[in-house]
Structures are given as C-alpha cells and as structure tokens.
C-alpha cells in the first residue's frame, strides 16, 4: 500500500477538473491504496454545501463527494487560508475535513509516494 495525494486547485465548474479528481480519488481507494485529497485555492468551493447545479442542466457531482466516506476515503484536507479567503467554515462543509496550514500541507506532501495535480 502506498500513499497517494490528489491535489485540486481549480474552481468547481472549471471544466471537469474536480470531477476528474473525484474519480481518481475514488479509484485509488477502490484499489486499496492510502489516498488523500487536498483542496487548495478555489477548489475548496467544491466542498460548499447546498449547491444545485442540476437546476441549470449540469450534473450534481457534489452528491458523489458526499459518498467519499462510504468508500473509506477519510483523508480529506483543505487549505486553511483558502477557506478563509472564500468565507467557508470547516465545520460546515459537505464532508468532514482537516484544515491545514502551509507547514502541515508540506508535511502531508512529504509523506506521499505519488502526487497528482488535477
């Protein structure tokens, strides 16, 4: 089992970036690797509650993010500074997360075998 980190930096509806990252995260969990997902910058907005893109014809992928726990993806991290930037409260997101400062993000990175930015 290796440690793999998916790093997201794009906003929720910037092309399919977050959806690609979601797929990648779920699949590494499925093949039983120790997967972590880190949201930084505008990517943290993908964890904002009560978004309903289906009302403008877009797929509601937030429902799948909510299922991460069911698939044993527990290591979900967000950049503390980015939460502040977008006025989000870490205790009121779609899923439970750990908020990290830059030093903690560096520590997380240092523990990985593979890192993929999506």
């Amino acid at each position: 089992m290796i440690n793999v980190l998916v790093l997201s930096q794009h906003s929720p509806f910037d092309d399919l970036y977050i959806r690609d990252a979601l797929d990648m995260t779920l699949i590494f969990a499925a093949v039983e690797q120790n997967i972590s997902w880190l949201f930084t910058g505008p990517a943290v907005l993908a964890l904002k509650k009560q978004q309903q893109p289906e009302h403008i014809g877009l797929k509601n992928y937030f429902k799948s993010i909510k299922t991460l726990e069911i698939y044993d993806v527990e290591n979900i991290y967000v950049c503390e500074k980015s939460l502040l930037e977008y006025g989000l409260d870490k205790n009121n997101l779609l899923v439970p997360v750990k908020a990290l400062n830059y030093q903690q993000q560096h520590h997380l990175i240092s523990q990985q075998q593979q890192i993929v930015t999506l």
């Binding site: 509806f13 910037d14 092309d15 399919l16 403008i56 014809g57 877009l58 797929k59």
Partner: protein
C-alpha cells in the same frame, strides 16, 4: 432590434460555459434580437466533433445545438482553428464550416460580439 454574434471558446467538457451561451442566445431571440452567427473557435471547435455523445445525466449538448439550429441560427465552425486541432471538417452536423474571414465580416457588421468561455 440589435444584431449579435457570439463565439464559444471552450471545449464541450466545459458544460457550464456551453449552457450559458445557449441561454444567452435564447434570451437574445426571445427579446426580438437577431443572432447573425454563433462561432466555434479555439477549443470550442470540439463541439462539432461527430463523436460527441454524453451520458444521459449530463447536459444534452447535442439537442441544445439542434434547437438553436432549428430556430434558424447560423452555427459556424472555424475551419482554421479546426484544422490546427486536427478535427475532421467533413460531417460536422448542424455546424457549417466557415472561414475566419466570413466570421470577421459578420463580427464587423454586428452591433455586439459577446464571447463565452
């Protein structure tokens, strides 16, 4: 009544920009304005790919284009941008293959050119 040209610059995978352009076009028409052309440029050319076939819970891109086409809106694929991206310009469905010059003349004539990306 005003005359518009619209251009789409992002790929079909950018569903959000696509639905926005379509809704803007619908609002133009329902407000009594005229759309002289919708032009696919840059990554937008992939909308004219004959392969485009999305799952049923995704934005129904093909039928949205068909609806605009049925209302008589001229949907144009930029041949220069398409060739630079290796896109097959035969068999482009509701999109007509047009030169950049044709679009530039339409854009010069129109009251407004609005880009979507």
């Amino acid at each position: 009544m005003a005359r518009f040209v619209l251009s789409l610059h992002s790929a079909p995978s950018d569903h959000d920009a696509t639905q926005r352009l379509i809704k803007f076009a619908d609002a133009c028409l329902s407000s009594g304005h005229q759309i002289d052309a919708i032009f696919l440029y840059q990554h937008g050319v992939f909308h004219a790919s004959k392969q485009l076939n999305l799952a049923s819970d995704e934005l129904p891109i093909n039928s949205l284009w068909q609806q605009l086409y049925d209302q008589g809106v001229s949907l144009m694929l930029c041949v220069t941008a398409a060739e630079k991206r290796g896109l097959d310009i035969n068999n482009t469905g509701v999109f007509s293959v047009a030169g950049l010059a044709e679009f530039a003349m339409l854009a010069s004539d129109a009251d407004k050119w609005v880009q979507f990306k």
